[in-house]
């Protein structure tokens, strides 16, 4: 291994060549197919008495590529980071600081198992944040995994900026760290063992160790709430629409569209099955959500992993005085499942503050504190909303033959502009933002409203974008990126200077908080 201050690069085990060749198999097969189209021929230096066919040449070429790839792949482990470099024509190099390591996984795919080797994968919470060492010997895998998952690594004492050390020390594990256990065989023929670099790294499962505290009821959907949700949901609305269309076509046209009728029936049934028995419970550290009729789904999330609270108000639901609450978490072990989704499908409007407070999302901000975006946005949105319809009407007016029709089309143009203006004003009144007390509150929408409560400590990055037309109007949009998937926080059409000031404020707030594992 590397000594302090030195970088010593290591090669993977030579068995890796076989793995590289297998990964090139499809390319080799495709090349063979193409060569068949070219035709059979033989080449070779006559003086050696060789006569090589196309397949022989291709095999040599691909063997060479596999071997060169192996030679070009190296890794290094220092007291600061794990580094990996790969590629000949396009060379890549990844540097993963040791205090950002989330998981170290030891596995064995088919090639590794045949030769009694292993693959070691080091992951961070970042995108494309995996370094896969395939293949290495079992000894190397054992040594590396022990070194990279050691407590001193987690504390990051070597990196000198005091990042993770204080945090981990303050968050002493309440349960013993997860230890390597024999992995279960996977359908793909690989065997994986995951070593956590910090306790309770997976928010998707109950904690091991001491008995969890008692889970107190947080939300339980009764039949009346379910009916409210169903009658105001888009899925049921679409289903009813399709059902009505199919029945109407039967009566009027004597034609039954069975497909639409099935959708009309299926949508409500799917809703019933999925949300039946919806209930959420919490113990102050975690929240558990259960729902489902025949197949009950249970999801857990750690409250400290909540990135933002999401309040959804479809216009019909809002008209009846209800809203839907959801939370978005960062699940770094299953990045495809980072969206936690619903935690309370139907609650009275404006009850989100009290509800979220019990999940650790406590804020003094409310909708009265929202600041408007720039009023210039009304002009921009009107132009954006009206330009295409007006253009289409203009083209239509040139095409129609009837003078009366043409006159009607021309008269419709200002009405389209007026409608676009009214919608732009409506969305301007809804949009707003507020910053304070460690949170950012953003409201967006037109008829369906959406409120996002973002924890500033969870901000990963901020970007300010400005299109060509926004720049002409002195406007910019602010995008706040957190570790959850599915929900994005955007404040559109701020004055450019305001966007920059807000981004700096978010930077300062993000930098003052050190996150465990960076999420």
């Amino acid at each position: 291994m590397a000594e302090d201050g030195d970088v010593v690069w290591h090669r993977l085990h030579p068995v890796t060549v076989i793995r590289e060749l297998l990964s090139l198999l499809w390319n080799f097969a495709a090349a063979l197919v193409v060569s068949r189209g070219v035709g059979d021929f033989e080449v070779g230096p006559e003086f050696l008495g060789l006569s090589l066919g196309v397949e022989d040449i291709l095999a040599v070429v691909f063997l060479g590529i596999g071997f060169i790839r192996y030679l070009a792949t190296r890794y290094a482990v220092t007291d600061q980071a794990v580094m990996f470099r790969r590629g000949v024509i396009f060379r890549s190099r990844t540097v993963l600081p040791r205090d950002r390591i989330q998981n170290v996984t030891i596995g064995a795919d088919l090639v590794a198992r045949i030769f009694s080797m292993q693959t070691l994968t080091v992951s961070s919470a970042g995108s494309e944040g995996e370094i896969e060492l395939a293949v290495v010997s079992k000894t190397v895998a054992r040594q590396l995994s022990a070194e990279l998952t050691a407590t001193s690594t987690i504390n990051g004492a070597a990196n000198g900026d005091g990042l993770a050390g204080a945090v981990i020390g303050d968050q002493a594990p309440t349960s013993p760290p997860l230890v390597a256990a024999p992995g279960a065989a996977h359908p793909g023929g690989s065997t994986d063992t995951q070593l956590a670099t910090s306790p309770d790294v997976s928010p998707g499962a109950p904690l091991d160790g001491p008995m969890p505290r008692t889970l107190a009821p947080w939300y339980a959907m009764n039949n009346r709430d379910f009916l409210r949700f169903a009658l105001t949901s888009n899925a049921v609305g679409a289903g009813v629409f399709f059902g009505v269309v199919s029945i109407a076509s039967l009566i009027v046209l004597d034609q039954f569209f069975g497909f639409f009728f099935v959708i009309g029936i299926a949508a409500p049934i799917v809703l019933v099955l999925d949300l039946f028995g919806f209930a959420a419970t919490t113990d102050g550290d975690r929240v558990r959500v259960q729902h489902g009729m025949f197949s009950t789904r249970e999801k857990w999330a750690r409250l400290e992993r909540i990135q933002l609270g999401d309040v959804r108000r479809p216009w019909l639901r809002r008209r009846f005085g209800f809203e839907t609450l959801a939370i978005a978490t960062a699940d770094v072990t299953e990045s495809a499942n980072g969206q936690f989704d619903l935690c309370a499908p139907v609650v009275p409007v404006d009850s989100w503050r009290d509800r979220f407070a019990t999940l650790g999302l406590s804020t003094d901000l409310d909708e009265d504190a929202l600041v408007d975006v720039s009023p210039i946005t009304v002009r921009r949105r009107t132009i954006r909303g009206a330009s295409l319809p007006v253009l289409a009407l203009g083209v239509l007016s040139l095409v129609v033959d009837s003078t009366a029709m043409r006159a009607m089309i021309v008269m419709a143009m200002p009405m389209v502009v007026m409608a676009a203006w009214m919608l732009a004003r409506r969305s301007f009144r809804v949009d707003g933002w507020a910053l304070g007390g460690g949170h950012l509150l953003v409201r967006r929408g037109l008829f369906d409203e959406r409120l996002l409560l973002v924890r500033l400590e969870k901000v990963q990055s901020v970007s300010v974008t400005s299109t060509f037309f926004q720049r002409r109007l002195g406007l910019a949009s602010l995008n706040v990126d957190t570790a959850n998937v599915g929900v994005t926080t955007t404040i559109p059409d701020l004055v450019r200077d305001e966007a920059e000031r807000l981004s700096f404020a978010l930077m300062i707030a993000a930098n003052t908080t050190v996150l465990v594992d960076g999420v």
Binding site: G87, F90, V95, D161, Q460, I508, V519
Partner: protein, 151 residues
């Protein structure tokens, strides 16, 4: 900090290559049609291909310059700031405490010019990567060490 001058060459080179490819394709089509149809169109041979290729090259020369000038990188004790974009200008701010890891990638043309691309990775879901193209190798290495420490 701006991108090095060699980056401008790379950005323009892409458009030049596109212009050459367009010329070859159009010229080939022109000649093939003349031969196949045994006809004599009003324009001289491959003139259209030359004009189109020249237009693409000219536009690419100008556009490459605009894209190059839009790139700015700034690193302080708090955050990394990256500005880029012409039609849609973008400014990305990444707090230094949120950087997960850093990777570099170098293609053959970049290697010939002593350049490399640097990508900063965060745990963000919407814009997890901030990529800075065509930095000088020494600058990229220095930036990498600043962001994630000495490797």
């Amino acid at each position: 900090m701006s991108l090095p001058e060699a980056a401008l060459r790379v950005m323009r080179l892409g458009w030049i290559v596109a212009a050459v490819v367009s010329f070859l394709v159009l010229a080939g089509v022109d000649i093939a049609l003349r031969l196949a149809l045994d006809a004599t169109p009003p324009t001289p041979p491959v003139l259209v291909a030359i004009v189109v290729g020249a237009c693409i090259a000219g536009f690419g020369w100008w556009w490459g310059g605009r894209v190059y000038r839009a790139w700015r990188i700034d690193l302080d004790t708090e955050r990394l700031r990256v500005d880029h974009g012409v039609v849609v200008s973008r400014t990305a701010f990444v707090p230094r405490t949120r950087i997960q890891h850093v990777s570099t990638e170098q293609g053959p043309i970049q290697r010939a010019l002593g350049l490399t691309s640097l990508t900063v990775h965060t745990a963000g879901a919407r814009t997890p990567n901030v990529e800075i193209p065509h930095l000088e190798i020494a600058t990229a290495e220095s930036l990498r060490q600043e962001l994630v420490g000495r490797g």
